[in-house]
């Protein structure tokens, strides 16, 4: 038995429900219309550079990055731009989106569509970062932080290790798992591209124990590439959190308010690494991603390769699920994802799953009073006291008190709410506290 790595504090064990782990990725198909939001990342919205009525191809640049923390947005289909206006997003709030009527499937000629794996990297680090920026790559684990910023090391700091995050600790989701099983070699090449950009030689691919097939595949291939190692981590939630993963692999702790680069680490999701491979070595911008459609109301759970902007309802139809059976739709994983109210909303670069639930599996439990058992504090992987944050927020919303409780360090993993015997929505309070603090 090889050594398994994990983080020491907090965390919970959740049921996995990884029933789509053996279903291979298939192309979801092209919908009639796609709506592409111009903001699919943290930071400033991108600047639209196309006009209504323009004909676009797959991979055409639609919106240019605007400011340092921003990202490019590309067309995911070929066709005509019919609308550019505010449309309701998944939560119902309006957001600027570009609607394209799909006509055929014509790709930009610069994209290399051959199935061969490119193994030569003939680029300088600057060229790689430039290519990543031009391809609109953002952190695909869910946060949506623009990748070019992560790959260009700020002055005075030094990257020592690159960690490829292959830990999908959210229940139900198998998008990253399938990606590692099917495109292992491309992910390793992606890691080498990132290594070149960072100017370091070693990369660690971290996978959790319950993905044996992915571990086998990557371990077999990693022997062929010097500097690429596979580390097996314990199956525990939130093992895939950036801070938790760094602690598990390197033993280093990121101080409050600091970034991974401050301890010499760069963490990239496997999805992002795959996108980097395609962007740099295949000239393919980020316009499609793998999405798991699952849940107990889903008739045929599957892993789809989905073009950005495809409506959620299109994916639900694709699984032959009738909306009459579905009582709750979640975008992302069940722990950190959000319940959505508008199924006509588009999927984005950050959507890792569409989960459909009915019946007992989503029923909310009756809330009772806090009994001061401290289970939330035990479960918190950061070491916060969620019950105290809740009290501070509810009683006076005092910013000073919340700051003292380090509410801003919350990673919103939801372990507190999951473990609460009184079924209190502790995560909601933590999220609101963070908002309150950021306002000031």
């Amino acid at each position: 038995m090889p050594k398994t790595y994990t983080f020491p504090m907090g965390g919970i064990h959740v049921n996995k429900y990884k029933n789509t782990s053996d279903i291979s990725i298939e192309f979801a198909g092209l919908p009639e219309f796609v709506t592409i939001p111009v903001k699919q990342h943290i930071g400033a919205p991108s600047k639209i550079i196309v006009n209504k009525g323009d004909k676009v191809k797959v991979g055409t640049l639609l919106a240019d990055f605007d400011g340092v923390v921003s990202s490019d947005v590309h067309s995911s289909v070929s066709g005509e731009i019919v609308k550019m206006e505010a449309l309701p997003n998944a939560n119902g709030y309006e957001e600027t989106m570009i609607t394209i009527k799909v006509e055929g499937d014509e790709w930009e000629p610069s994209i290399d569509r051959s199935p061969d794996v490119v193994k030569e990297i003939n680029f300088t680090p600057e060229e790689i970062v430039q290519k990543i920026r031009e391809s609109g790559i953002v952190g695909m684990g869910g946060a949506g932080f623009p990748t070019p910023i992560k790959t260009s090391i700020p002055e005075g700091k030094k990257a020592e290790i690159l960690i490829i995050n292959g830990i999908e600790c959210e229940p139900f989701l198998t998008a990253d798992d399938r990606l590692m099983q099917e495109y292992a070699e491309r992910i390793i090449m992606g890691a080498r591209v990132l290594n070149r950009a960072l100017g370091i030689q070693n990369a660690v691919i971290a996978i959790d124990e319950n993905k044996q097939k992915a571990i086998d595949e990557l371990q077999r291939l990693s022997k062929l590439y010097i500097g690429v190692n596979v580390r097996v981590c314990k199956t525990k939630y939130p093992q895939g959190g950036e801070k938790q993963l760094i602690k598990a692999i390197t033993g280093k702790e990121i101080p409050s308010g600091k970034l991974p680069i401050d301890v010499g680490c760069v963490v990239q999701n496997v999805g992002t690494t795959f996108a980097v491979y395609e962007a740099v070595l295949k000239n393919k911008p980020l316009f499609e991603r793998i999405i798991t459609v699952s849940g107990n109301a889903c008739a045929h759970p599957a892993n789809y390769r989905v073009r950005v902007g495809t409506p959620v309802s299109f994916l639900i139809e694709k699984t032959k699920t009738s909306m009459d059976d579905v009582e709750k739709v979640i975008l992302g994983g069940p722990m950190m994802g959000t319940t959505i109210t508008n199924i006509n909303a588009p999927t984005t670069k950050l959507t890792s799953g569409v989960l459909l639930f009915k019946g007992a599996e989503f029923n909310k439990h009756h809330q009772t009073n806090c009994i001061r058992c401290g289970k939330c504090a035990v479960a918190c992987p950061i070491g916060l006291r969620p019950y105290a944050i809740k009290d501070a927020f509810l009683h006076n919303g005092g910013a000073a008190e919340l700051k003292e409780l380090h509410a801003l360090d919350c990673i919103e993993c939801g372990c507190c709410a999951y473990s609460c015997p009184a079924h209190l929505p502790l995560l909601d309070y933590c999220k609101l506290s963070k908002q309150e603090l950021r306002k000031k």
């Binding site: 709030y93 109210t341 929505p425 909601d428 999220k431 609101l432």
Partner: protein, 276 residues
């Protein structure tokens, strides 16, 4: 034995004497004259400690009144006590009171169950602040009432009640002191403190939706669709972002009936004094 009792009495008595002496001189040295004006003013105030005046409480407001000069005093106003209390306070100070028209809180939304039917089930925490963050709410209107009653919880005067049939908060005009607590509590800013007209009437647009007409109507039958019928009647009314706003300068007594009838979606509300 006797000696011991005497000794105890002597020691304790001595300590008491010295302490009394010290206390007497300290209290003389650090004497603060009571602000009699402030005390008089505080006696006139409603003592609701609501914070509607912008001060921490009634006594804080009273001391601010007491310290204020004539110009400063003109800016101080207790919305709860209104003109009656302020004239009494002004008499104590010897100034003339700031004159404000009586006002009342109004809700800029009519998205009741029947007008804006629920499209989804909301099953999370019963708080508007949290619901506002999660999604647009049951009706689908991004600027409408969330029907969870944060405003009702903050009202200290019992002027806001929750109507179970319409799922909307209702303002009791008689009890409302226009302290502004509900204005601060609503995460969507649907409340406004509005002045009453000379005859005690109210005129306002009961909608804050800035979506285009068709999109707004899809969610709510009472939404303002920005048709500009009202602005054609009265040029003071401005329609911006598909939403009409009636400024306070439009006289409710003169225009109310006409504007309310002209509005095709009945988003303009005209309430006479007889209406609660």
């Amino acid at each position: 034995m006797d000696n011991l009792i005497w000794l105890n009495a002597l020691v304790l008595g001595g300590v008491a004497f010295v302490a009394a002496f010290v206390l007497y001189f300290v209290s003389r040295r650090f004497y603060v004259a009571p602000d009699e004006t402030a005390e008089k003013i505080a006696a006139e105030l409603p003592q609701a400690n609501c914070g509607g005046c912008g001060y921490a409480g009634c006594s804080d407001f009273a001391s601010a009144c007491s310290k204020a000069d004539e110009n400063g005093f003109a800016n101080l106003y207790c919305p709860v006590g209104g003109a009656k209390v302020m004239s009494k306070v002004a008499k104590i100070k010897g100034f003339s009171a700031a004159k404000k028209k009586p006002s009342v809180a109004v809700l800029h939304c009519q998205g009741t169950c029947s007008q804006a039917p629920a499209k989804v089930i909301y099953d999370a925490v019963s708080s508007c602040r949290i619901a506002n963050q999660i999604s647009v709410g049951k009706s689908g209107c991004p600027q409408g009432c969330l029907h969870l009653g944060d405003c009702v919880k903050v009202c200290k005067f019992g002027a806001l009640s929750f109507d179970e049939t319409t799922q909307m908060p209702v303002v009791d005009r008689k009890k409302c002191t226009s302290c502004g607590a509900c204005v601060k509590a609503c995460p969507r800013g649907l409340f406004e403190i509005r002045e009453l007209s000379a005859k005690g009437a109210l005129l306002y647009v009961a909608c804050r939706n800035t979506q285009k007409g068709a999109a707004a109507r899809k969610n709510c039958l009472s939404a303002c669709i920005g048709c500009q019928k009202c602005s054609k009647l009265n040029s003071e009314i401005k329609v911006e972002n598909n939403l009409s706003t009636i400024p306070m300068s439009v006289d409710a007594d003169e225009w109310g009936q006409q504007l309310a009838e002209a509005c095709p979606t009945k988003a303009i509300v005209y309430k006479e004094k007889s209406h609660a």
